[in-house]
Symmetry: none
Subunit: 210 residues, 4 copies
DNA sequence: TATGAATGAGACTTCATTCAT
DNA sequence: GATGAATGAAGTCTCATTCAT
C-alpha cells in the first residue's frame, strides 16, 4: 500500500484529553459509516456516539468527507502493518502454510474491524476508487514478488496474472463473506487455493528434484 | 432465488401507456442510482430522465426506497432467468465446460448491466443485506443440487460447503472485479475453479469406473 | 442606468398564484433587508413574512444573494423609470423649476421606498459596489447631457465636474437624509442648488441678451 | 457630540500591558469590521490580528456588539476632537476660509480612517441609528452656534435649518464620496457651499456697513 | 391520472460565547 | 489573567413527499 498524504486534519491535539476525544470521534464515525453508509451517516449521530458536540467534530475535521478520509487512512495503515507482519516471517515455509496463515490473519482482521468492509463497499466515489485501485495494485505487486521469490523461473506476465487472481479472490471473498463464513467454508476455501497453486509449486519441486 | 413478498407497488397499471411509463421510471432510477448512488439520486432527476413528473413516480412508488426495491427485484429476476437458462441445457456436459459457460455468462451479464454492481455495492441497510443473504442462500441451494446430481454420494454437508464457496467466490469476484478483469485473469480464474473441483469429479469417475 | 442582466431567478411563474407569491417574497425580503441588513436577515424570517415556506423561497431564488440582486434590479428599474419620466417633460422649463421638480420626485420616491436606502447602504460587497459605481456614472452622464443642452458653450470637463457634484450631492443627501428631512430643510437645500448653479445659467442669459 | 453612557467595557485595565492589548484589540476589530463588515467578522479573526486569544477579547468586551460600540465611540471622540481643533482657531477668518479649512480637514480624516466610513455604512441596527442621529444633532447644534456668532440677527429657526443642511450635506458627501472624489470635484463642492452661503454673509456685511 | 409547486424536516457547517486549565 | 478547546444554537440550503389544479 503506497504512502498517502496525511488526512485533512484541522488540529492535531497534544493534550491527552483532546487526543482521546479525537480517537473517540474517529471510532464513532467508523461505526456509524459502517452501519448506515457514508451518505446516510449524520455528523450529529457521529458526535453523539463519540459523546461530544458537533462543534468538536468540526474542530478536528473540516467536513464529513475528511472524516471518511481519516478512517480510510487508518485502515490502510493497519492493513499495511498486517501485510508487513505476515511477510516478514523468516524461515522456510511451504506455500500452503503461508497461504493458510495469511488467510487466517486476514479473516481475523476483517472480523475484528467490521468497519473496514463497510468502508470498502462504500468507496463508490471517484476519488476513493482511485485509492482502491492503487491499493490493489500494490498488493498485487507484493504478491507477485512473493511468487517470484519461490518460483523464479515463472515468466513475469504469468506471475502477475496469478497474483492478480489471488489478490482479487482473497479481497473479494473477504469483503463479501467474512462475517458469515463458517470454519468449514474457510477450510474449503484454503483447499481451493492450494489445489489451484499446487501445479506451480510442483513444477518447481520437480525441477528441484532433478 | 426465494419467492419475495410482492414489491411495494401502488398500482399495477393495465394500460399500455402506463406500463411503458413504469418501465421508463424503473430504468431511469436504475441508471441514476448506478451513476450517483442511492442517497445522492434525486426523485427529480429520476423523473426527468424518465421523461415524466415527480407526481407520476409517486403514482407507482410510495417512496424512493421502493424504487430501489423494485430495481433489486428486477435484477433478481434477471439473474434467476439467467441461471435457469444455464442449467436447463440438456445433454452431458463436463463440469469444467459447465463452469466455463456459467462464468462467461455471468461476466457478460455484469458487463451488460453496470447498475447491478452499483446496486449490490450500495446495499448497506439491514433490510437489503437480508435480501442479499437470501439470494445467496438460494443460489447455494441450487448449486448444491447441481452437485448432487453429479456426485450423489457426496455427503450433503460437504456439498453445501463446496456450493457455498463456489457461489461466494463467483459472486464476490464478479462484483469486485468484472469490469476491470482481463481475459487472462478470467482464464486463470477458470483454472482455479477447475483444479479445485477436479478431485471431486475424479472421485466420481473412479467410483464409476470400478 | 444601464440595462442589467436578468436576476438569477430559478423559475419564472406563469400562474397568478405563484406570481403573487414571488411578489410577496421579494417585498418581504426587501423589508427584512431594510430592517436588519443583508447579513443579519434570515431566509426563515423572509419566508415567514411572505407567508410561505423556506422551500418556496428557494424555488424562486437559488440563494440569499440572488434575492438581494433581484431587489437591486427592481429598484434600479424604478429609478430608471423615474428619471425617464422627469426628463421627458417637454417645453421650456427653467433650471430651477427642473431641479425642484426632480428633487421633489426623488424625495417622494425615497419616502415611498424605504428599502431603497437600506439597500444602497448595504451595498458594501465588491460586486455591488461596481454596480453602484456604474449607476452613478450613468446618472452623471445623463445629467451632463442635460447641462449640455442648456449650456452648450460650457467645456465638457467643467460640465462633468458639475454633473458629478450635483449627482453625488443629491444621491448622498437622499440616502442619508430623506426620511428625517423637514420641508424647511428641503427648501433650503433647493436654495443651495439654485444659488450654486445660478452663475452658470446667468452666463448663458448674458450671452443670450447681447 | 452628546455625552454617551460609558462604553460596555468589562475591565478598565491599569497595567500598561493590558492597556496595550486593549488598544490592539480595538484597532484589530476596526480593521476587520472595515474589511469584511460586522457580521462576517469573526472574533477569532479579530483576536488573531490583535495577536491575542479569543478569551482575552472577552476579558475586555462582553460580546461582539460591544466591540463595535467601542469603535464607534473612539471615532466619535476623534471627530469631536477634530471639530474642536477646527473651531478653536482664533482671529477673524472669512466664512469661506473656515468652510474650506473644515472641508479639507474632514476629507483628510475620512481618507486617513477608512474604517469610519465602513462603520457608518454598517449601522443599520436601530440602536446605532439612534447614535447616528444624536451625533448629527450635536454637530448641527454646534454649527448653528457658529452661525449665530457671525450672524446674530438671523432667527434661530433659520439658523437651525441652514446648519442642518450644511451638516447633512457635508457628512453625506463625505461618507458616500470621499475616497473617489477628485480635487476638481472638491473644489466645485466648496464653490457650491460658498455661493449658497454668500447671501447670508453679505446681508451681515451690508448691515455692518450701514 | 398527470403535473409540478409547495412544504418543511433535517443535513451540514459556522462561530459567538463559555470555562477548565 | 490568559488561553483556546468545547459547546450548541442558528443559519443556509436540499429534497422527499404531498396535494391542489
Amino acid at each position: 500500500m503506497p504512502k498517502r498524504k496525511p488526512p485533512e486534519v484541522r488540529r492535531v491535539p497534544s493534550q491527552a484529553r483532546s487526543q482521546e476525544r479525537l480517537e473517540r470521534i474517529v471510532d464513532s464515525a467508523a461505526e456509524v459509516f459502517a452501519e448506515v453508509g457514508f451518505e446516510a451517516a449524520t455528523m450529529e449521530a457521529i458526535a453523539v456516539r463519540a459523546d461530544t458536540s458537533i462543534g468538536s467534530v468540526y474542530q478536528f475535521f473540516p467536513n464529513k468527507r475528511a472524516l471518511l478520509y481519516a478512517i480510510a487512512i487508518r485502515y490502510a495503515e493497519r492493513v499495511q502493518d498486517l501485510f508487513d507482519d505476515l511477510t516478514t516471517v523468516e524461515g522456510s515455509e511451504s506455500w500452503d502454510a503461508f497461504l493458510d496463515r495469511t488467510l487466517d490473519a486476514l479473516v481475523a482482521f476483517h472480523r475484528r474491524e467490521p468497519g473496514f468492509r463497510a468502508l470498502v463497499r462504500n468507496w463508490s466515489s471517484q476519488e476513493f476508487l482511485a485509492q482502491d485501485e492503487a491499493s490493489m495494485k500494490e498488493f498485487t505487486r507484493r504478491t507477485a514478488a512473493l511468487i517470484a521469490a519461490r518460483l523464479p523461473k515463472m515468466p513475469e506476465a504469468r506471475r502477475t496474472v496469478i497474483a492478480t487472481v489471488l489478490v482479487e479472490n482473497v479481497s473479494a471473498l473477504l469483503i463479501s463473506t467474512s462475517r458469515r463464513a463458517s470454519d468449514a467454508v474457510i477450510t474449503e476455501w484454503k483447499s481451493m487455493l492450494h489445489r489451484w497453486l499446487a501445479p506451480y509449486a510442483t513444477a518447481r519441486a520437480k525441477r528441484a528434484s532433478r
